[in-house]
Amino acid sequence: MRERKKSSAVEVSSVKKKKEKKTKDNNEPREQKEKEESQSIMKQQKNTTSRSKKEKQRKATEDYQSLRESELSGDEVHGTDHDVDNADDHHEEDQTDGSEGHRGVEESDSSEDEVAPRNTIGDVPLEWYKDEKHIGYDISGKKITKKERQDKLASFLANVDDSKSWRKIYDEYNDEEVELTKEEIRLVQRLLKGKAPHTDFDQYADYVDWFKYDDALHPLSNAPEPKRRFIPSKWESKKVVQYVRAIRKGLIKFDEPKEEEPKFYLLWGDDSSAAEKANHLAYIPAPKPKLPGHEESYNPSLEYIPTQEELNSYQLMYEEDRPKFIPRRFTSLRSVPAYENAVKDSFERCMDLYLCPRVRKKRVNIDPETLKPKLPSRKDLKPYPVACYLEYKGHKGAVVSISTEASGQWFASGSTDGTVRIWEVESGRCLRVLEIGEAIQYVAWNPLPELPVLAVSAGQDVLILNTGLGNEEEQRRVKDLLHVETPTAPDVLDLGLVEDHLLKNLLLALMFTLDGVFGRMASQGRLPLHVFHPTRSIFFVSTKKNIRVYDLLKQRLIKKLETGLKEVSSIAIHPAGDNLIVGSREGKLCWFDMDLSSKPYRVLKCHPKDITNVAFHRSYPLFASCSDDCTAYVFHGMVYSDLNQNPLIVPLEILRGHTSSNGRGVMDCKFHPRQPWLFTAGADSVIRLYCH
């Protein structure tokens, strides 16, 4: 132990000496000196066998310092006293030659490896040997036995007695006590203060410029600049490409710039700016004008030219939706005409410049389908006439009027060819042809089945005809009736004497009601139309535009229905009596609910031409209108017995098939009394039966 202390002291002192003799000798070859120094250092390190870790570190730095110093200080570090050192070293070397000397020479000069501890347990925790008697093994494999522990009191007393006890450190690893020398203590203290371990080491020594040459103004090399300085780096560009690819592939993602949201707002500030916005017109940025394209060319290619269909569809558009510019083709720019709207456009532009007020148009965007009233499906309203299966041909002129017999087995038709024909419904056979000789205006069958009589109006006359149907008893009764009624003419009742048309109609109507014969007369002229209420003694007469309702018993006007039509052409009354339909010459159909008001409940504008006749079905909720446009419309007209519920009107079917003749289409329509079938009489001399 003493040896080791001595060696450390030697080391320190040798360094000191080296410093002192720095400047003396610089002639010796450098290599040799270095070798010598390293050797000396190795020797020193060999000697320092037991140190704490901290001390080892310190020593390492010290060695490093010394090395560096030796390098920096150059050749003159070691002076003439080298021999003394050497002598010292050699002396020591001789002493330690036996066991460790050869090892120290062979090992590398790393300061860590040169620590050769006595204990060879390796880098294992010392606790493992806590309960053992030995603490490890020495190099020859013998156990290093632990020293017997002094008991605490004794050691304390020893410490108190020994004035040097504070310099003693217990080395657990090698199980020995180490006493630090004064120099070592000083060294430790300097290190603790953060200073260089050696007192004579100057950290801030002056820089010594070892290389001095005369031509310092000139560059070191006169070689021209190499080419690589001027061309872009290949590797850089490769790297850039690599990055670009990675970015494209999405392997490299950039942080999206965060949107800076204002965290705070002016809570108590005045909101005059907001009020300003509200009070003034909203800012509408002017639309950017579209740049002229191919279609504005004077000779655009064909795909830009709108077809005739498209041009027609433009006509159906709203004025403002229509395209402003319609491309046209011209063979040359010469043939392009002057702009037709030039004056108008400049006027508009002037208006713009004068800041003429502009109206902001508010257009409501509504699906037109939703505006339609919700109607029940046609399928649910069956049966109604759909298709024509039977045609009754035989008349030579326009069929003006038809009337069905109450049972629905026969019907009669009157035509402008002066004949009345009686048909069998089922087979389409014409049973009888009655020649009247004058154009027929109206035919009506007696609603009572036991009296098969037919009323016919032709010219100035109303004829009551015996159809010849029914059995003999019925025939006899009919003959009796007609005989009693008309003493002068056996089969014909002449009313030609009555001049006043209204009176004539009234008279006729009254007479027919009294006789149980439901009659009506209509004509092409200005004759007023009329119907009777089916149950009460009420009578409807139409003037040109309005309908007057008379009570026959009290003989006064009850009501006046304002149709709002130009000219009434036909009326029909619902079998329940509270509803009335009125057809007009302009193709409008009015439905009057007598309980509601004197105005029409519904006005249906369906026919493009005059409505010639309207009809109700006796039992089914159907009504029909026929018109000069050769069609008949069938509607569902449900009247509820519940007074709170308004009648339901649903258009069902347009029946086509007649052809126009002399501008007239369908002249009359009548429902079959029992089936949902419709007879239509056409101006083309055909009667059609539409079945469900």
Binding site: K382, Y389, S407, Q409, S427, R429, N471, R674, Q675, C691
Partner: protein, 403 residues
């Protein structure tokens, strides 16, 4: 044993797919083919199949004259190419397909029409010896085969609307019933429907059993009867229809079927005078006939182009079991074949008489001999179709072979 038969289609399309079939039949030996399975192209239609069978028959019997056949697969007539048929019915083409063939039902020849003076309104062919027709010229006529009018029955003062032959015992004494639009029934009548919504039962003065009474159809406004030979009151009146009764049949002793313009078909119990069942149709009905399987199917046609067939034995439904809709206009008459379960004819205002088989939805044949509305049609002698129409002709199409 497989053998390939050369047919016209076959030569055209060598590469078409083939099906293994075996023909079987209920026909008698000269028309029977050997029951081997053969491979035939799958694109054959009825015509192709028919020529295959004829070729087979010729192979057996060289003097065989080819003859049209009709083909049944699983009880359904083949009306498209075999491949399409198998696909539509989901029948596997892997197995050997059994095809039954029958003689094709189609009129072979059209006989000379018998001209009347006016529209032919009614026809009856239930007697194999003669045809009875009613006409709008108030006359009934009796025709022999070959268009010879043997008798003219005068007496009505209105158009004859319905005729019927009443079979007596032993065929010596044939009586004829006619109904007219003058609201009378002449000669024998048993059951009549009328425009006053009632059905009347009349007793014949002949002492025949009620079993040979035959139903009759009639249109009239009143059930009062004036009759030269027999005056009588109806023994019972069946009330229930709300509109005119257009057609009645009395196929069995105790039940009467009636069709009416009030859209219903009713079944009546004769003894009780009550209606047993009511089938609602939705259309006004013109004609009704009972026949088919077990004489229980009701065929009726009306004011639309659809011939409907109901099976009243099916519980809980009044939906028609068959609907044939090839006509274009009202159906005026329908008649079942009295022997076959499957065949019936219908006459329509579109001027066509169609021959139907229940086993296919297409008409077997369309007889288009009339130029205007056909008003009546009936079978005659089991192999002819007779029809009368607005063109005043009585047309006979004979040679309809129904086995």
């Amino acid at each position: 044993m497989d053998m390939n038969i050369e047919t016209p289609e076959d030569q055209n399309e060598e590469n078409s797919r083939r099906v293994q079939v075996r023909f079987k039949t209920k026909l008698k030996p000269p028309q029977k083919v050997p029951s081997n399975s053969i491979a035939i192209p799958s694109n054959l239609t009825r015509f192709g199949l028919s020529s295959v069978v004829n070729n087979l028959l010729q192979a057996v019997n060289p003097e065989w004259k080819s003859e049209p056949f009709d083909f049944l697969i699983n009880g359904e007539l083949v009306r498209m190419s075999l491949e399409q048929f198998l696909l539509a019915k989901g029948i596997s083409a892997e197995k050997v397909l059994e095809i039954e063939y029958i003689k094709a039902v189609a009129p072979q020849k059209e006989e000379e029409p018998s001209l009347h003076d006016d529209w032919v309104s009614a026809v009856d062919g239930s007697n194999p010896g003669f045809i009875l027709t009613g006409c709008y010229d108030n006359l009934g006529r009796v025709w022999k085969a070959g268009g010879v009018c043997t008798h003219i029955l005068e007496g009505h003062c209105g158009a004859v609307s319905s005729v019927n032959i009443i079979k007596s015992d032993g065929l010596k004494y044939v009586t004829v019933a006619t109904a007219s639009k003058d609201q009378t029934l002449r000669l024998w009548k048993v059951c009549s429907g009328s425009w006053d919504c009632t059905i009347s039962l009349w007793r014949t003065n002949d002492s025949d059993a009620a079993g040979n009474q035959v139903s009759i159809k009639k249109r009239k406004g009143n059930n009062q009867v004036e009759e030269p030979q027999l005056e009588g009151e109806a023994i019972s009146t069946l009330v229930g229809h709300t509109q005119c009764v257009s057609s009645v049949v009395w196929p069995q002793q105790e039940t009467i079927y009636s069709a009416s313009w009030d859209h219903s078909v009713r079944t009546w119990d004769v003894e009780m005078g009550k209606d047993l069942s009511d089938i609602f149709c939705g259309k006004a009905l013109n004609c009704i006939d009972i026949g088919g399987e077990g004489s229980a199917l009701i065929a009726a046609g009306g004011s639309d182009p659809i011939l409907r067939i109901w099976d009243p034995r099916k519980p809980g439904t009044s939906a028609p079991v068959f609907q044939f809709s090839s006509h274009n206009s009202w159906i005026s008459a329908c008649k079942w074949h009295n022997k076959s379960w499957f065949h019936l004819i219908s006459a329509s205002y579109d001027g066509k008489v169609m021959l139907w088989d229940l086993r296919t939805a297409w008409p077997l044949s369309v007889i288009d001999s009339h130029k205007d509305k056909v008003l009546c049609a009936d079978w005659w002698r089991g192999d002819s179709v007779i029809s009368g129409g607005v063109d005043s002709k009585l047309c006979v199409s004979s040679g309809v072979s129904i086995q």
